[in-house]
Symmetry: C2
Subunit: 204 residues, 2 copies
Amino acid sequence: MNSNSSKLLSQAVDAFASLPGIGKKTALRLVLHLLNQENYYTERMSEALVNMRNNIKRCSKCNNISDEEVCAICTNAARSNGVLCIVESIRDVIAIEDTQQFNGRYHVLGGLISPLEGVGPDQLNLQSLKERIEKDDIREIIMALNPTIDGDTTIFYLSRLLRDLPVKISLISRGVSFGGELEYTDELTLGRSILARVPYATPE
Amino acid sequence: MNSNSSKLLSQAVDAFASLPGIGKKTALRLVLHLLNQENYYTERMSEALVNMRNNIKRCSKCNNISDEEVCAICTNAARSNGVLCIVESIRDVIAIEDTQQFNGRYHVLGGLISPLEGVGPDQLNLQSLKERIEKDDIREIIMALNPTIDGDTTIFYLSRLLRDLPVKISLISRGVSFGGELEYTDELTLGRSILARVPYATPE
């Protein structure tokens, strides 16, 4: 963008280009798209973004994002099935919801314990966890944390924290991706998937 | 995005996803980025977009985008060198400005003549062109239009329109891209680049 260009345009391009993964060229393309649309299109878009940013809350029960004090998942009585899924972030809630395979509730930690990055248990959303497990009559806790050192550290910490409670703790399974090719699977995953092999039940 | 999710979030995701080349997944990533930033970041970004869309003008001389009644290129006395570059759109102005190889002024048509799409000369910004050429003492006109049928049709129309004026008309050169490989150049371009070969001057 040359100095002869419009300042208004440059500022709009810079705004888009400040987003992750959006370079100057893409930002320019987006801005020129806005210029080709009616004014209200840009206004409506900006309004949706500001409205979202200013009014979105964290659910007081599970720490998921929410439009209300308590999120739609926590208020949904059909999801009170005694299973609680512990995740790192709202991204993970969205990813798991998209699978449509989980019908319980979540607990969003807001991070993982990371000695290297100086993140300790105090910085995670753990204060209400024990109380919640007792009050909501949770029978099973699924640890759906990233299969990394930080994830494993957090799982270990939580398993110690909760060991006196009458809950079953399970982990999401780890192994070769569905539809993936063994040849291109990393050694660690492939090696572990052999160690963690499961019995095959012949379909009748 | 599941129906259990936040409506505020969905609306923001939809806003981003309505932009060209941005899918739902990318839109979600952008929205989550906004959520990780302070509120004023989103406000400033939205402001830049709305401000640009509502206040940007078309230059009354050349039809380029402009913050003022007349654009910075038309008011820059150093660019009054008698050369006028005719382009289809503001995108082309930006692309040519980025090359830093042109020091004259522009005339933005706002389209190309296209019999197939029903675009005639009346829909282009041509009313002021003849008058401008005389008044600004233009000696040369560079046609920097896309090398397509519509581009060539427009060049032909303009050359007829301007044939009584004492201006030289030139076209930007067409041929093999710099740094490109002949093997991967399309047949038409390669064939034409042979027909339109230029004499080689041995450097001394």
